[in-house]
Symmetry: D2
Subunit: 405 residues, 4 copies
C-alpha cells in the first residue's frame, strides 16, 4: 500500500504504549512531522506526563489541554437533556467524548499548518468512525491516518516488540497493576472490553471495576441528595452552585461510593458486529434518573412523549458518530426548545446501586395541579362528566369498525 | 340527568366497599338486574368471598373466574416482547389488565343477555378509558355505566354514609389495617395513589409498600437465577419449565424478597392531568431486564433499534387504553415478527433492589461472533481496511456540506 | 341545560346566516353583550359589509381586520417548511387558519373585557376543536360557547325559521347562486363538504369547483415560472419580490387558471368519523412541489429524511388543532433549524393540473456536486473502491445472521 | 490489486455492451468460468437474444427467465401496500427490482456450483449496494465481483476500445437510435440519468422520455377506469380479473398514453452524493393514488397514520438495498397486518398527466358511515355534546400550562 504523502500530522496522544508506538510509526512510515495533542477530559490520569514523553520523543509542538468544562457543558449536558440511552442500557460515555477530541485535532491542524490527523482507534470499533466523521465534517480535505487499519502490528506482542525495537518505554500503571481489559475513561464513564468479556455468558472478575464500589461493599446507609435543575441542566447539588464539570465529578464521587452505574451489556457496533462491554457511569446514571424526574413534573405530556420517541434515534446518532451532523443538530433544536421549563429540584436517595427518586418540586414550572389530581372532592377543578364525551369520541372509530365486522 | 334505560348490567365486582355500593346504586338508580363478575388476575386476595357477598346482595348470576394464565400469556407476555415502559419508568401494570376485564364483561353480557356493563373506575383516571374503549370495540352498542361520573358520592364520607344507609358491610382488610392509599393489584404489580403522594415532594411512608422488601431490609446475599427464553417469552426459571403465570408469580416472590421493582413517579394521565403514583413490579422489572439482555445477543441491530423507536408509541397505546385497536395490533405484528430468534438463557443477580445481568447465551440464535469481535488477531474474519470505505462514504455528504460552508 | 353565566362574548362573525343567527341566539339565551370579530384571511369575500350588518344588529364593539399577511407569514409559511400533508392528500387549508382566528378572539376578549368567545363550528367537525384548543391554551379561563353543540337548530330549515322569526335577513350570494355545499375559504384554499359528496362513490357536479379551472378547460400552453426561496420561504416570483400574502395570492391566480390543486378525498376527522371533502389549493400545491424541489438541492439527506418521518405527525397536530402546543413548537424548532440553507430558485411548468419541476439551482447552498455525481471520469473526486468497504460493513450483520440460519 | 481466486461466477447479463465486456473481463482477469443470467422483469426488450450472444461468447450455462409475475407479486405489490415513496417523489422502480435479481444470482450460484456472482453496477450508485446486501444476506460466503470498482475502464471510450480489442459486437438499439442517457427499465418504471441531467437547472430534451406521452400530446378526453382491490392489491381493472403483472402492464399502457408518471428529481444516494434522475412510472403512479383512496375508505385512522409515519423509513430501506433485512420484514409484517380490510373499488380519471380519484366504495369494509358524517340531522347517531368533554379533556394540559405561564 502506497502512503498518501503527509507533511505534518496532529496525533491524539495519551503518552501510553499504543500512541507512543503510533508516534514513532507515523514518523517512520510517513516521514512527517508529528504534533501531539493530549486532553484532560476527566479520564482520571494526569496529562502533564505526556509532555515529557513527547519531548523525549523529539516532538516540537505539544498541545496539552484541560477540556473538562467544555466536555460537560457542550457535549454531556446537551445529551442528557435528551435522556439519551443507546439500546436501553448504554449512556454513551465514550461516544460523546470523541467529537470533542476530533474537533480539537482539526483546529490544531489548522493552527499548526498540519495537513493530517491521526488517532489510535482500531478498525473494528466505533471510535474511528466518531473521530473521522467529525473531522471530515469540520475539514473535508483533512487527511486521516488510522494506523490500526494500515499496519500489521495487530497483536499486543507485535506492538511490544515494535516498542522494544524502537526504544519506546513500556510503563506499568502507577498502581503497579496492568488491567487485561481494553479501557476508555472520561468524566462521564469508564469502559471495559476484551479479555474474559469476550464470552458473553461469563461474569467479569470482580477486580475489573475501577470507579464504583461493588453494591455489596457500598455503605449500608442511604445518602440523600438534592439536585437543582436550570433549563434542564443540573446547576447545584444540595444547594451549592457548581459548574457542569464540578457537578459531574461530584456525582461520580458519591455515585461511585454507593455502587451506582455499573452496566454489563452486549451492544451493536456501527461497523456491524455485536460486542460485549462493561461500563461504570455513576454520575451519569444519577443525572439521567434525576432529569427524567424533573421533566415528569414540568414538561408537557406530548412534548415528553415526542422526546421519548425521538430519543433512540438521537442516541443512535451519537453512538454512530454523527454528533456534528445536520440531523443531530435538528433533533437538538427540538430537544432544547423543550427545556426552558425544566427548572426545580429533585430529591434522591443513593443506596447500594439504587438511585431512588423520593421527591421533585418546581416553584416556577410545576404542571402538577393538586386541586385537579386529588382523590378528594376537587371543588369543580375537573368535571368528571367531561370524560364521557372524551371516551365516546375516542371510541367512535373503534365502534364503527366493531359494527362493520 | 335522565338515565338511559337499562335492563341488565354486568358489574366488575370485587366485593369491596366501592363496588358493593355501586351494586346497590345500580339497582336503585337504574332499576335493573345486576350480574357480578369477579376475576382472579393475581391481585393477591381471594375471590371466592365475593360470591357470598354477591349472594347476600341478592345477585342471581355470579361469575367468578381465574384469569391469571390468560392475563400473563395473552397480555403481559406480548407487552414485554416490546420492552414496553411508559414515560421511562412505568411498567403498565394496571393498564394491561383492564382490557382483559372489559373483554370478559362484554362476553358475559352477551352470555347473560345484559345490555350494559359497569365498572368502579373514577372519572379522573385512565381506567375508565381503558375499560370503555375495549368494551366499545368489542360491542359498539353496549351501554356503559360509570357511576363515579354520574353520582354525587364523591368523597369517602359520602360513600360510607350511603353504605351505612343501605346496609352494606364495611370490612377491614384481613390484616386489620386499612391503607390510606388508593391501590390496584394484579399479577404484574401493585399501585398506590392519593394520600401523602399528592405532594410530589414528599416521600411516602415506609409502610406503604406491600409487595417488596425495602432494599435495606433485603437479604445481604445476592440471588443468582437463570431465565430461559423461547420466542421472546420466559418459559423456565433455573431450568424448571413453568407456565406464564407461574413464571411471573415466582419472579414476584423472589424479586419482592430482594427489594426489586419499586417506582415512585409523576406520570401524565390520558385525561390530561399529571398524577403521582408508586408501583411495585418485582417480577416485571426482572422480566424487562432479562428480555433486553436476551435480545441483545439474538436480535438484529436494526430490528432492535426499530423496536426501541416504536416502543414509546406502543406503551402509550396500552397506557391510554387502546389494546384492542388496529394500531396496537399493527405494532404487535411487527414486534412478534422479530421474536422467533429470541431464544436462550439469561443469568441474573438479584441484590437489594438491583437486577444485574451477568451472562447471556443462545445455542441456536446467538449473533455474537467472537471470531469477529475479538481484540486479538481474528484470522481474517474482519478486514479492518473495509472501515476506511465505510467511513469515507458515510462522511461524503458531511464533507460536501463542509466544503459548501 | 343551565347556561354558564356570561357577561360579554366575542363572536367570530362572518355576517352570513349562521353567525347572524348565533349573534341573536347568544343575546337571547345568554343575555350577554356581543362583540363581533370579522377577519379577512383571503376568503375572497369583502369583510366590510359585516360592519353594517353588525351595526344593524345593534352591536357596539365591532372588529374588522385584515389578517392576510399575518396568516401567510406566521401560519402558512411555517407549515409549508415542513412539507405538511395530512393523510397523503390534504394541504390543511382550513386547519391552519383556525388558530389565528381563535388567537384574535381571545385577544379581543382581553381588550374588551369579555369573558367568553363563540364560534359557528358544529359539534361534528374539527374546527370546534381547533378553535377551542387554541383559545384554552391562550386563556385557560375563557368561557367558550359553541351554539351548535347546545341548541336544537340542527337543520337548515330550523335555522331559516329562527332567522325569519327574529328578523334576520337571509341574503343570496352576490352571484345570485347558492351553493348546496358547506364551504370554507381562505387565502390557502377553499373546501366543500356535504350534499352529493356524502356518497364517496359519486363524483361531485362540475359546477362545485370555484377557484380553479377544470384541467380540461385550462390553457393549452404551459406557463413557466421561477420561484425564489429564502430560508425555505418563497420571496419572489419570476424575480419580483413579494410579501407572503402577495406570493400566495399570485400563485392562486395562476394555479387556478391552470387547473391546479383540486383534491377529492375521504379523510379521518379528529372527532372519530370519516368524511368526504373536496379542496382547491392552487397556490399551496405549487408551493409544496417547489419547496420539496428546493430542499432536494440544498438540504442534507438525513435532515430531509428525518423531516419526512416527522411530517405526518406534524400534519396531524395541525389537523387536530394543536398549533399552539408544546409538541408543535418542538417540531417547528427542528424544522426551522434546517431551513437556513434552503435558498435558491425553482423553475416550474404549470399545465392543465400538472406542476412540473424542470429546474432548481442555488448559488449559495447547492449540495449537488457535479464533479462527484458525473457518469464520466471524475478525476478522483470519488473513489469507487470505497464502496466495497461501505457495503461489506453494512452487510456484516446480515452475513452473521445468514450464517446463523 | 490481487484478485481473490474465483472458480465460477454467475453474471447478471443483459447482452448489451457493458455486460458483454464484463463477461470477457471476468474470464480474462479471474480466469474463471462464467454463467450468464438474463431476466425478463418487464424492461421491454426481448431476453432471448441474450442466449445467442452468450453462446457466441462460449458460455455453457445460460439462464434466461421470465420473472415478471414474481417481480410484481412478491416485490412491487408488497411495496405499494406501504404507499412507499422515497423523498416525496420517487416510486423506487429500480430499487425494488435489484433484490430479485440478486436472489436469483445466488440461487443459480448454488445450482451451478459457482462461488461468485458479478454485476454491472458502478461504484458510485445505489444498485451495487442493493445487489450485494441481498446476496450477502442469502449467502454470507458468496464472493462478489463488481468490475466497475476494480477495473480502469472508467469511461465510455475505454469500454468501447476494450470491446473492439476483444471482438465484442457493439450494437445499436433496435430502433436505430442511441440514447445518451444511462437508463434502467423494468415493469414498474424506466429511469434516466447522466448527460444533460447533470445540470439540475436544465430541463431534459423532450425526446428523452420513452414510455409516456408528453401530457400536451396526450388524449384530450379523460379515460375513466375502475380498479378493484383485494387485501390491498389490485386484482381487476374495469371488472376484469388480472394477474399482478398483467395489471401493471395494462396500467403502464393506459397511463403512458395519458402522460402519467413523469418525475424529474434530485435525489440523495445511499453512497452519499446527490444525483439527478428522471423517471417514468405510469402504472405505479396510478396504483399509488388508487391504493391511498381505497385505504381512505377502509383503513382505520390510527393505523393509516402509523403507516404514514413508518413509510419514509420503509421507503429508505428499499432505496438503500435492505429489502432482505429483519427491519424491512418487521415493517412489512405491520403493513400487511393492516391490509385485510383494504377491499373495494376505486374510480379514477386519467387525463394529461393527472390521476384524479372520483369515487371509492367497499361493500364489505367501508368505514364511512353516512348516518354519522351527514350535515343533516343524524337521528342521534352522533351526540354533538360529546365533543365538549372531548375538547375539554384534550385541552386540560394546555390550560394547566396556560395558567402556569
Amino acid at each position: 500500500m502506497s502512503r498518501t504523502p503527509v507533511k505534518k500530522v496532529v496525533l491524539a496522544y495519551s503518552g501510553g504504549l499504543d500512541t507512543s508506538v503510533i508516534l514513532k510509526w507515523l514518523e517512520q512510515e510517513y516521514g512527517c512531522e508529528v504534533v501531539t495533542f493530549t486532553a484532560d477530559i476527566g479520564q482520571g490520569e494526569e496529562v502533564e506526563p505526556a509532555r515529557e514523553k513527547a519531548q523525549a520523543a523529539g516532538i516540537k509542538e505539544i498541545y496539552i489541554e484541560d477540556l473538562r468544562e467544555e466536555f460537560v457543558r457542550d457535549f454531556v449536558y446537551p445529551m442528557f437533556r435528551a435522556n439519551a440511552i443507546y439500546e436501553g442500557e448504554y449512556l454513551l460515555g465514550t461516544s460523546i467524548a470523541r467529537p470533542l477530541i476530533a474537533k480539537r485535532l482539526v483546529e490544531i491542524a489548522a493552527e499548526t499548518g498540519a495537513d493530517a490527523i491521526s488517532h489510535g482507534a482500531t478498525g473494528k470499533g466505533n471510535d474511528q468512525v466518531r473521530f473521522e466523521l467529525t473531522a471530515y465534517a469540520l475539514n473535508p480535505d483533512i487527511k486521516i491516518i488510522a494506523p490500526w487499519r494500515e499496519w500489521d502490528l495487530l497483536s499486543r506482542e507485535k506492538l511490544m516488540s515494535y516498542a522494544a525495537e524502537h526504544g519506546i518505554a513500556i510503563e506499568q500503571k502507577r498502581d503497579g497493576t496492568k488491567s487485561p481489559y481494553s479501557m476508555d475513561a472520561n468524566l462521564l464513564h469508564i469502559s471495559y472490553e476484551g479479555y474474559d468479556l469476550e464470552d458473553p455468558w461469563v461474569e467479569p472478575g470482580g477486580d475489573m471495576w475501577r470507579w464504583t464500589n461493588d453494591p455489596q461493599d457500598a455503605p449500608d446507609t442511604p445518602l440523600e441528595i438534592t439536585l437543582t435543575f436550570t433549563r434542564g441542566d443540573v446547576t447545584a447539588i444540595d444547594g451549592k452552585a457548581m459548574t457542569p464539570a464540578e457537578v459531574l465529578a461530584e456525582l461520580n464521587r458519591i455515585g461511585g461510593e454507593h455502587g451506582i452505574g455499573r452496566a454489563d451489556i452486549v451492544e451493536n457496533r456501527y461497523v456491524g458486529m455485536k460486542s460485549r462491554g462493561c461500563y461504570e457511569t455513576p454520575g451519569g446514571s444519577i443525572l439521567l434518573k434525576a432529569h427524567r424526574a424533573m421533566e415528569s413534573l414540568t414538561l408537557d405530556r406530548e412534548a415528553a412523549h415526542l422526546k421519548d420517541e425521538l430519543m433512540p434515534r438521537y442516541a443512535e446518532l451519537i453512538y454512530n458518530g454523527y454528533w456534528l451532523s445536520p440531523e443531530r443538530e435538528m433533533l437538538q433544536a427540538a430537544i432544547d426548545q423543550t427545556q426552558a421549563v425544566v427548572n426545580g429540584d429533585v430529591r434522591l436517595k443513593l443506596y447500594k446501586g439504587n438511585v431512588l427518586v423520593v421527591g421533585r418540586r418546581s416553584e416556577t414550572n410545576s404542571l402538577f395541579d393538586e386541586s385537579i389530581a386529588t382523590f378528594e372532592e376537587d371543588a369543580g377543578a375537573y368535571d368528571q362528566g367531561d370524560a364521557t364525551g372524551f371516551i365516546r369520541l375516542n371510541a367512535l372509530r373503534l365502534r364503527v369498525q366493531g359494527r362493520q365486522r
